[in-house]
Subunit: 233 residues, 2 copies
DNA sequence: AAAATTTAGCTTGTATACAAGTATACAATC
DNA sequence: GATTGTATACTTGTATACAAGCTAAATTTT
């Protein structure tokens, strides 16, 4: 059966140059649910149920699940099914380390390569809307934050770095959305973003590297501490 | 039909925690063919033909092709099929840049974290068999080289870094196997490997970083020059 | 009562039929 | 002769039937 009325809103771009309508749609929907913790870590993902709900057959659904499992957003065991990937301290530490390495170096390369257009766009993206009391505002804030960080790597013109940072930011979203440590955010990161941007604008690679490094590590440490406090392992 | 007699040799490990026999097998076989250039860049991959040859139905085959396309080893266009991914100068430049960033930093972290066992294994892996005149010896050499580089990242105990370097080394193999620039290798890289190992043994992070950086860039530049000479774009 | 074992149900794994879209070859037209 | 339109063959996209394997509950045994 060709799906008649399916949820039509693609909320998250598929990160791929492989636009195959149905699997991409399912991928986007599931990914959004996982990242936003609408589907909780360790929750089971049963193919049949998701098929019925999304009005799709198992083939495109499985394609989406496979993709998610390779991105480590869902865990898989043969013949035992899929689960939403758990959030672990070690996993998050590794993630911070990865982001620190790649994004700091990307900022340095960006400083070497940025054109005036790059700099203008970075400036436009640097200042984030931030209203910790507003639920909706918090989501917007997260999106804007990711947009800035992606814009920095994009300035390197290295699509491989870009893809790695995209995946990393995705994985990073989950602990953030959990609201864990939300209120611990001491100040709006816009200041750091502006500092990074100005270092890039001055083509000061080592400054860009240093500020980005501290920024990523700082944010990571805060969330890590909150995860520990919330008793994650 | 359950496949009765299929080629049984898995030549390349699947890089994943997702051991599902048939798709993994197909993935491994195709990947080996692509990396070894038995299947040439831009060659078309028609599902039916591969199914008949590998004695597998389309479902597991497509799962393997999807994985390969996300790893950028095969290119895909909706309704138009799969092709072996082309080798491009820009792609290779990006790859070198990625390896340089991640592996250099990984070497530094390895220097901070290496245990005596790590160091012993690194020493064992550092010296490579190298006989540029022997076809078989060349393949062994490539494998041993990858093994050393992987052992360095593994010392960081960061599985994300490990996965990235694994993929990167895979992509790197293809230009190497093309034999392009093979004879340009000025000397056996064992010396560099030993230098990296000794820096790690001394827990000298910045030396490890520096030597690895030069090593990766140097090797990359040589192959890049050869690709240019061979008129790749 | 606790442990082990069997069995029934459920979930995933694979194969295949059918639908939809694409490309190529051939013909008609400019 | 080049170009465009069209039909046909081929390839991929999706759905579904059936096989294989796991989980967990119920029954038996100690």
């Amino acid at each position: 059966m060709t799906p008649a009325a399916r949820p039509s809103l693609i909320e998250i771009a598929p990160h791929t140059t492989r636009p195959s309508a149905l699997p991409d749609h399912v991928y986007a929907v599931l990914k959004h649910r996982i990242l936003s913790c609408a589907m909780k870590p360790d929750e089971r993902l049963v193919e049949k149920k998701l098929c019925d709900e999304l009005r799709v057959s198992r083939t495109p659904l499985r394609e989406a699940l496979n993709r998610l499992s390779h991105e480590e957003l869902v865990a898989f065991q043969p013949h035992a099914g899929y689960r939403v990937a758990p959030i672990t301290l070690d996993g998050f530490r590794n993630l911070i380390e990865l982001r620190a390495i790649v994004e700091a170096q990307a900022a340095a390369l960006a400083a070497e390569r940025a054109t005036p257009e790059d700099i203008a766009e970075l400036r436009a993206f640097a200042t984030l809307p931030y209203d910790p009391d507003d639920e909706r505002g918090f989501v917007d804030y997260c999106r804007a934050n990711a947009r800035f960080h992606l814009r920095v790597v994009r300035t390197t013109h290295n699509s491989m770095l870009e893809n790695i940072v995209m995946s990393a930011l995705d994985l990073y979203q989950r602990p953030t959305y959990l609201r864990i440590g939300r209120q611990l955010d001491p100040k709006n990161p816009s200041a750091k973003h502006r500092a990074i941007t100005e270092a890039i604008a001055k083509h000061d690679a080592s400054a860009a590297h240093e500020v980005m490094l501290q920024h990523v590590r700082g944010g990571g440490e805060r969330i890590l501490a909150a995860l520990k406090a919330a008793n994650y392992h």
